[in-house]
Structure formats: structure tokens, C-alpha cells
Amino acid sequence: MKMRKLTVWTMAACVTASTLAAAGFAQSGKAEEETAHLELYAMSFGGNNDSLEKVNQAVNDYIKPLIHADVKLNIVNYGSYAQQVNLMMSGSEPVDLMLSTGPLTSNLAGQGALTELDELLENYGGDIVEVMGEDVLASCRYGGEVYAVPTNRDLARSVCYYYRDDINQELGLGLENAKTLEDIEKCFEIMHEKDPDMAGIAGNNTQSLMGAWNWDAISNNYGVLLNLGEELKVENLYESEDYIKMVKLMHEWYQKGYIFQEITTSTVSNPDLFATGKMLGFFANGNPTSDNSQSQMLGGPIKHIELVEPYMSSTTVQTACWTIPHNSENPEKAMELLNLMYTDPVLVNLLCYGIEGENYVVKDAENGIIGYPDGQNSQTKTYDNTIGWTWGNMLIGYTWEGDDPDVHAQMIEFNNSAKRSKALGFTFDPTNVQNETTACANVAAKYTIGIESGALDPDEALPKFQEELKSAGIDQIIEEKQRQLDEWAAANAE
């Protein structure tokens, strides 16, 4: 008996000793390096990203001497990004820098998941303020505090129809002369006759086909400013003439087979859909580089038809922005890294385009133009270079082959000349109508994909949708939005 007791105690002592030793090791290791570790989350739209680890290594080699921190780049697919983020926030895993999108940002900020950035910006991110300007940063204020920093890119957006020009020419559709939806419809007619299996509009059920059209969504579409925010009058989008006209057209197109028939059940992303060769085009936002970036992403020559003129609103500014979650262990370091992402061309080029010689080569050193190395193209590339617009300030980096050499200047001009919503700089705080907003979101989840992709008959589905929104409390949201907007306008007028 005594013997056994002794054994137990010895074992316990051994276990304790080894644990202590391990802890001691960990600590001494830390003291030597003093390198902070950052976890960064960004999104991609699919495609091969095998070089990510190498690029990550190169990034660390570069930033370690500069800010004494290394970073792990976590790239999550766009389709599951919001879900992933919600899980990370609920699970309290450390996340130090996180790319966010409009509604997600306001939601997270409202639930205290994000760090307030004003002070950090002042102490560690002064360059960011200089690059972006105070007025643009103001669009990311929630309840008076800055919670996010928009990436420097197309802060305005147009809405375009993009199409594969090779297919257009092969079938002789004449899309190059089309200007309006009516023109496009005529081209679809020819397309359908020549190749009934071809879909004019591709998409999937993770995102509405139409997205934003010619309205300022004020963060969530429940109560919008019509006509690109010409007036500060909040209205019910789903009862507006523009919306009804649009969904009726989509239904007509769907029935005629112009729209991808599986759109409400498919989760396949555009690059994969276009790989089938049976997709002609899709709706998306546009800017001076979109033709080129879409061609990169979809692996074929892409051209566009502008359907809604470029405009800027708080929502378009918030489309992509960087946040520092509340559970970041190193918010100061995170801000330092972010500052580099807005000011250091070497880092920006690494993040946007990968490693020189492996993922790209300089084609024209004078103008800073780069392209694929020999033997690589958008299909065989191993680094996702289509998400440059999310990496801080891509406008200080290289220009991709095929874009105008002065495309960065064009982008700045595009932003400056875009029509501005009257509510630019206003952000809606949904706290008071949280229940209504969630109820409306549940209703919208039921209908929007079906109605806006044309799969549902709007004559039947739309009245039901409108009625359910009413009982979910969309009118209260509109009222609250109008109240906050009026207050904001009054404060701004002073």
C-alpha cells in the first residue's frame, strides 16, 4: 500500500515538473524573439491559391524587421466568409486583422465585436488617415466611433453587365453595341436561338443576382434612398417602381431561359461556372479595372455594359474594410501592419500579386506594369491576384498588364467624379430596431434570391413578400432610418 502511494506521488511530481519545464521553455523562447504574432483573415472568390504559404513567408520576412511582428494569412472563401467570421467572434479565437463587408461590420460593431480605432489610428495609423481622408473614414463610423478602415479602391461603383467577348463574337450577338437592358435582351434572343444551353446571366444562391441597383441601400435594403440618394427620403425598396419593373424583367428572362436555371439552388462560384463554357455573362459592380480583373478571374476576355452610372454612398465605401476584432491580443501591432498595407508598395505588391518571378514578372519597369511569368495564365496561376482591392491600398502597387498604365490615376478620378449620395457619410445604427431587422432579414432570406433571380413569379411572390415584410416591421425600420438620417442631416448642416 505504501509502495503504491509512493509511486503515485512520484508520477504526479514528474507530470508537474514536466509541465513547468514546458512552460519555462515557452517563456524563454518568447523572450528571445519578441515577435508579436498576428492572425489575419481575408477573403477570396475561389481559384487556386497554392502559393499562399510561400507568399505568407515572404510577407513575414519583409515585415518582421519593420514592425517586429509576423502574420498568418488566412484566406476564406467569399461564400462562407460571413459564417466563418461569426463563428470566430463567438468562439473568441484571437483574430487581429479582419477584412469585413458593410452589413457585417455594422452588425459586429453593434455587438461590441470590434475595437474602436480612433486612438489606434492616431497613434499608429496616421498614414492611413492621410491616404483615405477624414471624410471617407467618416463613412465607417458607428455611433460616433470609427470601427473600420475602408480599403483604397473603387469607393464608388457602377452596375454593369459583364460578358465573355469571345462567345459574343463567336455567336455574333452584337453585345458591343448594346447600351440598355432592352438591347441586351435582343442579344439574348439571338444567343438562345443559336445555343439554347447557354445562359446569359450566371449566378448562385449565396448572393442576389441584382445586388444593389440604382438605390442607396443604407446598409441593409430595408428602407433605401431611391435614385442613388437624390433626396434624403427613406422609402420601401420592395414596393418601389424600379424594383418591381426589374424583378418582372428578370422573371421574363428566367422563363425564356436567359438566366442560369439552377441559380436558386446552386452554390457554384462564377469562375467555376464560367469554366463550363455555357455562361455568357453576369451583373456586377464596375470600375475602371473591372474588365481586366474579371477576365483574370474568369479566364476569358470580359467586356462590360454600364447600366447604372457610378455613384458613391456609405454602403459602397464600406464594401470592403479592415477591422481589428475585440479579441485581438495585439491591436497596436495590427494597426502598424495595417498602416504598412496602405503605405508600403513592397508589401502591397506581395499581398496583391505574390512573389516576383514566381507569380508575376515585371514587363515594363518604367510604368510599373507586371504580368504572368511565361507558361502561366489566369487558369494555371497559383496565387489569387484577383483580390488586390481588399489588400489595403492597391493603388500604390504595380499595374497589371492589360490595364491602362495610368489606371490608378483613373481610379482616383473615378472616385472623385462619381455621383454622391446625399447620405454619404451617414451610417445607420440598427440597435433600436434589432428585432425588426432580424425578422425582416429572415423574410428576405426566404424571398429575395428567388424573386430577384427571376425564378419566382413576382405577381405571386412579391405581394406575399411585401406583406410579410410589413408584419416583420419594415415600416418601423424605415421610420427609424428616416429619424436618424434627419438628425444626421441637421447636425451636418450646422
Binding site: 467572434m89 465585436a113 436555371q261 431587422t437 429572415n442 432570406a445 425564378a455 419566382l456 416583420a472 416591421g473
Partner: protein
């Protein structure tokens, strides 16, 4: 005096059973950690949860988080769906599985019996994601077997099945049965095999028909198994097979009215609106209604056959 002997007897009993309690301890601790401690999380439903303040630091919100459930028909819809589907499952699972088990039991050839049993069990081993794509293979509006082969050969117009809520209650039940029935029938079959053969021999001597043998020997012998399995399902009547209700309809929005159960609703709520408090509110609602239902079911069983009640 009387009470002390009683106490003594109790203590004696206690000491006798102590080893058994001790053996149960790991399982009890496990249940406590896994099932009881997380109940504390229910408090989130009554809080205005902030990530940075944590669960206990967040402000109280009363019943405000429950409002969104009752603002629309959602609460009613998901309760109705969960309940009705589960009721249908309980009834049909039992009836069809027993019928299959009896049929299997009558097969003389051993090899055939094994073969049918395996074929019936196979769907149970498939992941719901695979099942959902099998269903999709039939129902895909563009390439599906139903639209492309059956309907078009009859000269009929194809349908977008994923936008037709009216067919889905049947489809869901059908898919569920296809998946589960083989497994249940194996359980019943094992009971059938255990029934004393001499009953049947005696019945044969008395000239009983096949139907009479089933009616008066097989079914009464199955009764305890049926009641146990039913009770187990009733205890879980407020849960739903997530894969069946989320994956198989491919999360198609048009079908939410007939495919949303409490589980999928809570999941979607958290994923889409990312509001933790409201999602837990829905979770608390699920637990509460479920609790009441189990009490009710047990009360009913108590009335019918007392020895089979859960408590």
C-alpha cells in the same frame, strides 16, 4: 423507533448500491459537464450580448430577444414543422419498419435475406450531403432525371421543384423513410427472431392463417420494443435531423415555410444575422417547448401503460 429502522434500512441499501453509483459516476460527471453546465449559456437569451463584455458583463434585455420570433409567423411555423414532421416520422417509421421486418422474417433463403437487409440498411450509412445530391439528381430543374427524362418523355413541361413548397412535406418524409427505415427494421427483426418458435408451431397445429399469426403472436411480442422506440423518438420530438432539413432542400429560400425546423432556423439566424442573443432566444424557446412536450408525452404513456413510462 419506526423511522430509525427505516433510516437504517435506507442506509444499508445505500451502502449496498454504492459501488453501482460509483460505477455510474464517470457517466454522471460527463452528463453534468456536457449537458448541464452549458445550460448556464441560456442566460445569453436574456442579455443584450456584447462580444467584448462577455456573457456576464452584458446588460440584461428581458424578453426583448424573443420578440423577433413572434413578430412574424416564424415561431408558429417552425414549431408546427418540427412537430408534425416528427409525428409523421414516428408513425410511419414504426409501421413501415415493422412491415418490412415481418416480410424479411418470412424470407426462407438465407442469402436473399442477407441481401435485402443490406440493401435496406445502405441508405442509413450515407451522409445527408450525399443524399441531398441524390435527390438533386432527380429534381434538378435543368438536368434532373424527373424533368429531363420522365416529364419530357411524357411531353410535359419541367418544373422547378426547389421552388414548389407544396411537394416538399411529402418529399422530406419520403427521403427520411428511405434513409431510416432499413435501420429500424433491423431492430424489429432482431426482436422477431427472438420470439419463441413454439408459439408459431402451436398456431400451425390450431390451423391459424398467416395473418392471424402476425396479429396474435408477432405484434403482441413486438409491443415492448415499439413502445421503447416510440418513447425514445418522442423524447427527441423537438429535435430535427439537421442534414435532412437543411441539405436536402439545398437551403432554398422559397421552401423555408415547409422546411424550416427549429434547428435550421437557429442555425440560419446565427449565420445570417450574427446576433448571438437572438439565436439563443430561439434555442431557449426550443428547449422549453420540447420540455413541455416530453412531460406531456410521458403523462399520456402513464395513462396508457404505466410500466413503460419514462418517469
Amino acid at each position: 423507533m419506526h423511522t430509525t429502522t427505516h433510516k437504517k434500512a435506507n442506509r444499508k441499501k445505500m451502502r449496498r448500491y454504492l459501488p453501482i453509483y460509483f460505477m455510474a459516476l464517470p457517466a454522471l460527471i460527463y452528463i453534468f459537464i456536457n449537458n448541464y453546465i452549458p445550460m448556464g449559456g441560456m442566460v445569453i437569451a436574456f442579455k443584450n450580448y456584447k462580444f467584448n463584455k462577455g456573457i456576464w458583463g452584458s446588460d440584461w434585455a428581458g424578453f426583448k430577444n424573443f420578440e423577433f420570433l413572434f413578430r412574424t409567423k416564424d415561431a408558429w411555423l417552425i414549431t408546427r414543422n418540427t412537430l408534425l414532421y416528427n409525428l409523421a416520422f414516428i408513425v410511419l417509421d414504426t409501421v413501415i419498419a415493422i412491415a418490412l421486418a415481418i416480410l424479411l422474417n418470412e424470407i426462407r433463403s438465407k442469402r436473399c435475406k442477407k441481401f435485402y437487409q443490406t440493401v435496406l440498411l445502405l441508405p442509413y450509412l450515407l451522409s445527408m450531403v450525399i443524399v441531398s445530391y441524390l435527390v438533386y439528381g432527380f429534381l434538378s430543374p435543368d438536368q434532373g432525371f424527373v424533368n429531363k427524362t420522365i416529364l419530357s418523355s411524357l411531353g410535359l413541361q419541367g418544373q422547378n421543384w426547389y421552388a414548389k413548397p407544396e411537394i416538399w412535406p411529402f418529399l422530406i418524409v419520403f427521403v427520411h423513410l428511405w434513409v431510416i427505415v432499413g435501420y429500424n427494421s433491423v431492430i424489429y427483426l432482431s426482436t422477431l427472431v427472438g420470439i419463441d418458435k413454439s408459439y408459431y408451431e402451436a398456431a400451425d397445429v390450431d390451423g391459424a392463417t398467416m395473418w392471424q399469426k402476425i396479429r396474435y403472436i408477432t405484434l403482441p411480442n413486438l409491443k415492448p420494443t415499439v413502445i421503447t422506440l416510440c418513447l425514445l423518438s418522442i423524447g427527441r420530438i423537438f429535435y430535427s435531423d439537421f442534414g435532412l432539413f437543411y441539405q436536402v432542400p439545398l437551403n432554398s429560400g422559397t421552401l423555408y415555410d415547409v422546411t424550416s425546423t427549429i434547428d435550421t432556423y437557429v442555425y440560419r439566424g446565427l449565420m445570417q444575422s450574427s446576433n448571438v442573443s437572438m439565436s439563443s432566444a430561439a434555442g431557449v424557446y426550443q428547449s422549453l417547448v420540447g420540455f413541455v412536450l416530453v412531460l406531456f408525452a410521458n403523462w399520456v404513456v402513464n395513462k396508457i401503460s404505466k410500466e413503460n413510462a419514462l418517469f
